[in-house]
Symmetry: C2
Subunit: 146 residues, 2 copies
DNA sequence: ATTGCTGCAAACCTTTTGCAAGAAT
DNA sequence: ATTCTTGCAAAAGGTTTGCAGCAAT
């Protein structure tokens, strides 16, 4: 096993997480996990489908969607909703909230702790527990504010 | 013209806003505006389509979508994205940010000022201007936290 | 008379689902 | 041997678009 900085998950650890939930270790699962680990930060399902396809043709889009759900159930990944567009996915070892620029689509990850104050005050005032990781905050990045 | 508490927009004022942008005052537009003023707080496009249809049959869904866009361009209404589901619309005279429970779908309107601190600190740290009205914060309402 | 708006139908995009065959356990 | 997963294809949900005719200006 490789050494890992921070909480980087290895493919092996992810496989273990999937199996411990009774899941099977299939070829498409392995490929998707590799793509998730190696690929960019916030891929959409479509980008993942393309990446998997380019690596090993013949895997059905529906399979990717089902795998993504499986990985989410295993608490390995998480998806967030980005305004109107498709959901984006990311590994949970990399947990954070997101700022999304609705002009250029840039996604900025920020520490969840940024919301601590807001979580508390909204919890108190509205009896509502916000989960800042679950939906992005929309706005404009510096370049697009111009 | 009627007196109006707070900043309630009258239908007439909305018509004026639409016309000042070069838009025409059509029958479907009038009906939709009435529905928006009279109806519930956070309708989806689908609910608006149903409400318009029940009032005056024969108006195409695509017309409603185009009208909503027109009203949005005229800065009369605004839509927000609510996690995976369809967008919801509301009159801008009623501006606020939203908390959405992703268990039961409840929508809670909260004053935008709630975000003042966060807007400032995120602006400073990430060079990013969040627009809290534009996307809901997802979480769980009290009943669903149980 | 001009041109914006409408209804209709079809297309679109993202995601989900039914099903029979195949693969991991 | 069991039953979880897959590929395929179709469906579903929400929204957008092309087009010819109608209506507001």
């Amino acid at each position: 096993m490789q050494t890992s900085r921070t909480h980087e998950l290895t493919a092996e650890q992810i496989y273990a997480a999937v199996r411990s939930g009774g899941g099977r270790l299939t070829v498409p699962l392995r490929i998707l996990v590799d793509v998730l680990i190696a690929g960019e930060d916030h891929p959409t399902a479509d980008e993942l489908i393309a990446a998997v396809e380019s690596r090993t043709p013949g895997i059905a889009p529906s399979t990717i969607y089902r795998l993504l759900q499986r990985l989410e159930d295993a608490e390995v990944i998480e998806h967030i909703h980005v305004g109107r567009g498709p959901a984006v996915y990311h590994l949970r070892h990399n947990e954070h909230a997101h700022l999304v620029c609705h002009e250029c689509g840039a996604i900025i990850g920020i520490p969840e702790a940024t919301f601590d104050g807001l979580v508390r005050s909204i919890g108190r005032k509205y009896d509502f527990t916000i989960e800042p990781r679950h939906a992005a905050l929309l706005g404009r990045c510096r370049r697009c504010v111009a």
